[in-house]
Each structure stands twice: as C-alpha cells, then as structure tokens.
C-alpha cells in the first residue's frame, strides 16, 4: 500500500518478481482488496445464516405487496404423510420431499419442524430476535465494507481492471468458455488479468447482485418504506422484495460455490497466497529465446 497506484495493478503494469522454484510472481491483490475480500466473506456468511434464521420465522414467499397465505410462491413446511412427518417444499403447485434438510430436520437427536436446519442458521436454535440482531448489525458491515471496496476500486482504477472486459477479451469469449470447460487456464502474460467470464461474473455480483440484495433488504423495512415509498415499488411490493432478497441470497451462494470450485481447480495454493499476501504466480520463467506464445 506504500507503493504508487501503478504498482497495485493486477495487469501488465503489476510489479513482478521471481519467486523460489523460479516462478514469476505478480502483485495481483492490493491490501485494501485483500482485506475487503476476507471481511466480505465472513460478513456474508453471518448474513446468510442469520437470514435463514429470519426466514424460518415465516418460511414462505409471495409476490406483490402482501402475503397471499393460501398461494405462496414458495413454502418450506412439514406435514404428516402415512403416519410419519415429512419435510416438504412447495414451489408453486409442485411439491418436493426434503425430509432431513428442509422443513423437517434433526438436531442433537431431536426432530424439529423448521424450514432450514440448525446447522445452517444463526443462532442454531429457533430465535428470531437474536437472528435479527446479527443480521442488521452485519448488514451495516456489508455496506461499509462494500463502500470502501467500491471507493478504493474507483479511485485506484482497480474496479475497471477487475470488472470490465477489454475488447480483445470480448472478441475471444468462446476461447474463455473453452478454457473453463477444459479447466485449463492461461499462464504467463495472459494470467496477469482476469479472464472475460471472470470479469463479467464479478461485475454482475459486485454491481448488480449485491446492490440489489441491499436494496431489497431495505425495501422490507417499514421505516425506510415510509421515507422512500418508491423503493418497495421498484421490486413490485414488499413481499416481492422479500422474495428477491431470498433469490439473490441463493444466487450469491451459487456464486460462492462456483468461485470456491474454481479456486480449487485453478491452483488452490496459488490463489490463496494471492488473496492473503497479494503475490500470485503466473507460471515458470521461460528460458531465454522462447517466444511469448
């Protein structure tokens, strides 16, 4: 962080050194990015688990301003079937048996009617009041941490470099798809920047999904709705906002799962070192005379 902005860049201008084993290391992630990344990860985990606790208090979703109790868009519940209790999920008219995980699960040997199981919620036991406390405190952390990331990203140029694909990358979109299907990622100069699918995904998560998440969350607040009546309408009503909030949470979980899988298959040690120390290996130093490609 003591270096000039150019030194922080994860692109062609990034500082470079030769590591042990003769690998080329670039300084890919500046300190602010690393810190906000890990804080964000922890905060999102708390928000997810306390969010599931809150959802459990009324495990059904609706579209519009109000709850249409008889016709929920989604409901996670338990019901008796053939003398035994079953956990079920209703998605509109369709019904799925989810015993053991959703609707009915066991915790400490005790069977409980709860939408999400104890291991997925914060607190683990049914406790809406404490779940709300966690959620609303960590929502502030998410917003503050996100604001720091965005402001730093804008002024350092990191946001553009990380999120916006360059012209040649868009033209070679098919090539990037192929790389992902073969799980074979570039080394050398090309590894100095994020690939096009990566940039577009981060762009969607950072600039669309997370802001939508925050806005949909705020749209559920009767106080904010009184101050900003347009906000719930943006989503088609408060219950729609609640459903969007839930779906966005699901998409974030999906993103994190794919992100973790790609971290694992594209060199877990290198990726972790990159996000902890900043230094990321882009492959072996080529013997003199060999061409770039």
């Amino acid at each position: 962080m003591t270096a000039s902005p150019a030194i922080d860049a994860p692109d062609k201008d990034a500082p470079e050194r030769i590591g042990r084993n003769g690998r080329r290391l670039i300084y890919r992630h500046p300190l602010v990015i690393r810190l906000t990344h890990w804080i964000n990860a922890a905060v999102l985990l708390v928000l997810l688990m306390s969010g599931l606790q809150i959802f459990n208090a009324h495990p059904a979703l609706y579209w519009g301003s109000v709850s249409t109790f008889d016709t929920p868009a989604l409901a996670i519940t338990s019901e008796e079937s053939g003398g035994a209790n079953r956990g079920v999920v209703y998605l509109g008219e369709r019904k799925f048996d989810t015993t053991g995980v959703l609707g009915l699960s066991t915790s400490g040997g005790v069977e409980a009617d709860r939408a999400f199981p104890a291991w997925a919620t914060l607190p683990s036991g049914q406790d809406l009041a404490t779940g709300r406390r966690w959620h609303f405190l960590f929502a502030w952390f998410l917003v503050i941490n996100g604001a720091i990331y965005l402001l730093y990203g804008l002024f350092s140029g990191q946001l553009r470099r990380r999120l916006i694909p360059e012209g040649d990358q868009i033209r070679d979109f098919g090539g990037s798809v192929k790389e992902h299907l073969l799980l074979k990622f570039p080394e050398g100069e090309e590894a100095k920047r994020y690939n096009v699918i990566q940039k577009l995904t981060y762009c969607g998560v950072v600039l669309v999904l997370l802001p939508a998440m925050v806005l949909a969350g705020l749209a559920m607040s009767p106080g904010v709705d009184a101050a900003w009546p347009w906000l719930p309408e943006l989503f088609g009503g408060r219950q729609s906002a609640r459903s969007v909030h839930f779906i966005a949470a699901g998409l974030l979980v999906l993103f994190v799962v794919v992100h973790l899988v790609l971290v694992l298959v594209s060199g877990v040690a290198n990726n972790l070192r990159g996000m902890i120390t900043g230094w990321f290996s882009i492959g072996k130093v080529r013997p003199a005379g060999e061409s770039a490609r």
């Binding site: 009041a129 406390r133 904010v224």
Partner: protein
C-alpha cells in the same frame, strides 16, 4: 489428488463452520455480545430518523388492495376474565385511561372516542416474522388525545398497557404460560424472577380487580402485553388508536376494542387490546425496562426495520 484435497477442505470447512456457529451462539449470550449486537438497532434508529420527519407517513393504498383476510397474530383471544367480561357486554363498559405525565388524565368510553376527530387509513402491516397484510383502519389520532390531556414537559414516551396476559410469573419464580405466543428463549428464567419480584406497571382498569384476586390466590402475576413509542411517532398523523378494521368494529382477534397503529414500525409495536396510555419520562420502571413485551425478550425497541 484433487479429490483428496477437496475432501480435506470440505471436512475442515465443516469443522470450522460448526465451531464458528457455536462460538457465535456463545458470544450472543454474553453481556458484551448482546451489547454489541444491539449497535445495529442504534444505527438504524439514527439513520432512519435522518431520512424522515415526524410528519412523514407510510404509503396509503387504494381499497382494491385491502387483504381479504387480515392475519391475527400474538394474542387472538385474551384469557383474562376481566377482558372477557368487557367483551361479553360488547365493550360498552370499556374505558380508555390516559394518564401519567399529563395535565388532565382522561377516561374515555368507546362512544367518547368515536365522537373525537377520526382518521381512516389503508396501510400495510408488516409482521416481524416476514409477512404483510393491508387493512383499512379508523380511529382517533393519538395526538388528539395527547393534546386533550396536555403533556407535562418531562413526558417522553407513550406506553400502551394492554388487557391480554401472555404468561404468568409465579411467586416462586417458576414460569407458567397460558399459551404459546411464539418463540421465547429458555434463557428467561432469571427475567421471570425479576418480573415476579418487581412491580409490573400496567394493570388494566378497575374491572380487573376480581381477576387480580384470582391471580393473587393462585400465587401468580399475569404478565400482560405492553408497548411504547416516543413522541416522534406519537404525534405522527398516522399514529391512531383504531376502533374499526375494514369499516367494521375491530374483531377480538385483531385487538378489540382498541389497538394502536404506528405505521412506520413492525406489527409488534401495534399493541392490541389497549386499555391505558401512560405518558412517562423513561421506560426503566416498566417490565424489564426495554419498553415492551417482546423488547423484554430480545426484540428491538425500534422496529422500523
């Protein structure tokens, strides 16, 4: 190689997740943890009050959007004999008390209340559990009553004492409950003892004497619902004591004969079965001192989110 690594990482993550969750739960149960978690409420109150004025009102909806069924929640049929006696006579003997830090205490019948200026509003009710209903409420603005009674300068909060008993605290500190109103944490044994030992404000009007004797004989103290709002919300034009829902007298399940509507906050602030409005300078002497039945059980006093 990858499979092994993946299994190792899954196992580590699982172990880390479980211990993290236990750690978080333990943290939330300490005093420091509770204090920390409450910071979010302070921030929300501060910021939301910056976004609105005392006169900012919640959106009002057209008749066509009224929910066909307004879900009753919490108490839906108070077990109290004094309340049942009032209900049996269609609340003709009901009187609302307005007292505490006021110049002129009031005692008003339903007819008196209906003769005062009224306000009708079609608003969305948001339950802390997550659901919403839209209903049409008619009632007397709280500001009318407070102007009529005249506030003393020390008055800072309006406290709503309700007729419905949610649980009993017995003399020996054991905890008896007439019904399951919702999720209550087991960790409240200490609180119940406190409640049994201390003075529980909010007993309703004189009609409750017989019931109070029954409770005294049974060695138990009824814990009734109560709520509180500050003057910022008390003088909002939409803050009314409602006697009608959707053009008809309020049903018992929705809080007959009178319930509070405070439209910028969640459902549990909208106390039902209101018997008495007490103006106070501090919430410390009431219940466990947090300003409401659910607040005493961990919920936020400021329920704007």
């Amino acid at each position: 190689m990858i499979l092994h690594r993946r299994r190792l990482i899954t196992a580590t993550a699982g172990l880390l997740g479980t211990s993290l969750l236990t750690g978080c739960d333990r943290f939330a149960e300490t005093d420091a943890g509770r204090r920390t978690l409450r910071l979010g409420e302070d921030a929300n109150l501060y910021v939301q009050r910056l976004l609105m004025s005392g006169q900012t009102t919640a959106r009002e909806f057209p008749d066509s959007m009224i929910s066909p069924w307004f879900k009753p929640n919490g108490s839906i049929d108070p077990p109290d004999s004094a309340y049942k006696a009032l209900a049996a006579k269609n609340f003709s003997e009901f009187r609302l008390t307005v007292d505490g830090l006021v110049e002129t205490p009031l005692s008003l019948s339903l007819a008196d209340l209906r003769a005062l200026p009224s306000r009708t509003q079609i608003t969305r009710h948001d339950c802390v559990e997550g659901w919403s209903c839209i209903g049409k409420w008619s009632g007397v603005p709280l500001a009318e009553l407070l102007k009529k009674a005249g506030l003393k300068p020390q008055a800072r909060y309006a406290v709503f004492h309700c007729a419905d008993t949610l649980e009993y605290a017995s003399a020996d500190g054991a905890w008896l409950r007439p019904s399951e109103p919702g999720t209550v944490r087991a960790a409240h044994a200490a609180y119940v003892q406190l409640a049994a030992a201390g003075d529980w404000g909010g007993s309703p009007t004189g009609a409750a004497d017989a019931a109070a004797n029954d409770d005294a004989e049974a060695g138990r103290r009824p814990i009734r619902y109560y709520e509180s709002i500050d003057l910022f919300d008390a003088f909002n034009p939409q803050t009314i004591l409602a006697y009608d829902l959707n053009g008809k007298s309020l049903p018992v399940s929705n809080g007959a004969p009178l319930r509070l509507r405070v439209e910028r906050q969640l459902g549990y602030k909208n106390a039902k079965y209101v018997m008495r409005v007490e103006m106070v300078s501090s919430l410390a002497g009431l219940g466990e001192g947090k300003g409401g039945y659910w607040e005493d059980r961990g919920y936020e006093w400021y329920a704007g989110i």
